[in-house]
Point group: C2
Chain length 146, copies 2
């Protein structure tokens, strides 16, 4: 399950950050969809309703949220500065290359591979990056009708 606006806000406060309306708007935007967003995309979306908000604020807010692991950076989609709302705990992402929808999953079961790799190479393995890319059900149908 993904983090809710309330949870994100709470964690933000717990870490001593102030809750401004700008931050709340950014959080709401990220939480409210299943896809991933670049800073500019968030800016354009938010800017429609709140023309006073600055792009700089988006950057600064995203930086904080990323540092607190409240949002996740994606790579497989294309842009490497694209974020989606986090889910608690260790998880990975399955991304639709057409609409950008992101689905979380747990249970990557890489421990075995990681161990044998570690043994073979002598590396001390600290982490991994795993993302799947494909087409979601809706976009598959669209492709067929076209």
């Amino acid at each position: 399950m993904r983090l809710t606006e309330k949870e994100v806000v709470t964690i933000l406060r717990q870490h001593g950050y102030k809750l401004t309306w700008q931050r709340r708007v950014v959080i709401r935007t990220v939480v409210s969809t299943q896809d991933h967003h670049t800073p500019t995309a968030i800016y354009e979306k938010v800017h429609q309703d709140y023309p006073n908000i600055g792009l700089v604020t988006i950057y600064r807010t995203l930086e904080i949220l990323a540092r607190l692991n409240l949002i996740c950076e994606l790579h497989a989609g294309g842009s490497c500065h694209s974020y989606t709302i986090a889910a608690p705990g260790h998880h990975h992402h399955l991304i639709c290359s057409n609409c950008g929808r992101v689905v979380d999953f747990t249970g990557c079961e890489l421990e075995e591979l990681q161990q044998s790799l570690s043994k073979e190479t002598g590396f001390r393995i600290d982490g991994h990056l795993l993302e799947f890319i494909g087409l979601c059900q809706t976009c598959q149908k669209e492709t067929i009708t076209k």
Copy 2:
């Protein structure tokens, strides 16, 4: 096994690209180390011996090499525009977070996970991104002595 300079050059020619000394120098630089390089890093390295080469040429050469799958883009290291020489066939990377050394491996065995994910989510899965990050043997020793 990773591609050699000769192999890269051959493939380049097979695809109708001309072999300039600039391209040869870039290829040699990428092939000659086990780590990964950003365009700027390659430029600086190459520029010492060949001050006439332009950064633009590095970009254009890397673009071609990437398109022909002769170099691989890495993400887990930090910079998202970092390349390492490719190995033939489906493979993944294990990256040292300290020295940047890259080790290839095959046999990611994600087919099972991929299938169950596909069944659960309805996604048609087209590909995946998998990278391990850690410390190579040499860098582990360094960390201990310090």
